[in-house]
Symmetry: D2
Subunit: 145 residues, 4 copies
């Protein structure tokens, strides 16, 4: 959306350190593939043990990536000493998450004093082409770290 | 809510067979622990590789259980030859998912002709006591199986 | 859900005074018909100018009542000097809002320090019988009044 | 998002006729101010009787415009003989709806066979400048008209 004010010059180190502490992201093989103020992209390669009944990415993986991209987009904008916790999100599933790579792109809509609002789109890449498979809208509460 | 009309006498076999085909549920160690018309309970023991930064269940696991409990509650009520796909859900996180067991209880609010609506609560059991950690509200589309 | 702690003994006066200041509730003819800690019920009689294409209550009226019942349920539990603002809500429409009276019942799920979570069901009363027509799940931020 | 396929050459007449049949839109003084395939803009001038406690547009008006813009964006894309009903939506409130005009812009994200997904942003215009005050994400079911 708009340009964002960075309140923590060390945001990249902070976001990456936070991400590294989340064990489940390692479990599913997801990594940060782009990061800038107000934006975070995550990617995870397909594995059969992440699949649902048709061999596509399970909706739980899609939601996990959508949520985590939203949160880490937000973390680029908080002050030192602040963190964010998920209050809630909504996710709409748009097409099957079929492909070799799942990509979530989260962006902040509003970095408020008490509450952050962010949005992410999730794409499945199949044979090199990306297709939108889900979109989410999320609310975060600002907390002391 | 209300009593439900069962349209498929073999619903239990169908729901369990469908569940068994979802690889990711096996990956996270979740099992069906209660099932009746319009209702499904899932449980998953804590493992460190399912954790977030504080060693609680990751929000992605909470959402996965909430979503899957909703869907399998719905599948108890569909006709033979019908299935359900997640259209969307919203989940509110209420308290940290800290404990040895995560339990999701999904119930159908409306089994419609085109659309099902369901709701689930997720509880974390710690030292034997259950605490509500999330609640979800979901929409499903009826599709041919 | 649980029993709630009342933090403001004058909560009823506060909630009713707040309600009276919201001009749009007067415009649509909605009144508080029940109030207790953590709970608020609103009712609005049908009028043609509140209708949609089939002569039922418009979805905007359903959402307005759902939202306002949630908020005023929450306001029964805040401390003196605190208020609540809507962060977001989701509403599922379950059946047509056809009838002579629309009734929304909101209850608090979690009265947190920073954030309140509440839920409401909306019923249409037709020939004396109530039917569930919508359900909502909402998030509120605690603010200084 | 993408370019859309128009399935009903008379879509504009159909959408405007449908809109005219919704009495509540007339009650609040909202009109269609832009319409094209997959997109609908609605606007409503401020009136005191549409206000909340601070004299801004009430959240119910914001939600009504968000929802109606989503639905009428969708109606531009349905086949002759089809309609849409709101299944659910989520709305995040981002800033106070303060100003002389409220504008909702809805766009279709996916016009599916059974389900449409759409999104709208709501802006308040104050002294000529627009400010984003809410964003919504909605699901619609395709029904026979």
């Amino acid at each position: 959306m708009d340009e964002f004010t960075v309140r923590n010059e060390q945001y990249e180190a902070y976001v990456r350190e936070h991400y590294a502490s989340v064990r489940f992201m390692d479990t599913i093989g997801a990594t940060i593939t782009a990061l800038r103020p107000g934006f975070c992209e995550l990617s995870a390669p397909f594995r059969k043990d992440l699949g649902q009944q048709h061999g596509f990415f399970h909706g739980g993986i899609v939601a996990t990536l959508a949520d985590t991209a939203n949160g880490h987009a937000g973390l680029t904008l908080v002050e030192q000493g602040q963190g964010l916790i998920t209050v809630e999100y909504k996710i709409n599933f748009i097409s099957p998450a079929a492909g070799e790579l799942l990509i979530a792109r989260g962006e902040v809509l509003k970095p408020g004093r008490r509450v952050y609002i962010s949005r992410s789109d999730v794409f499945a890449r199949q044979n090199g082409a990306e297709k939108l498979c889900a979109t989410s809208l999320a609310t975060w509460a600002v907390i002391p770290r």
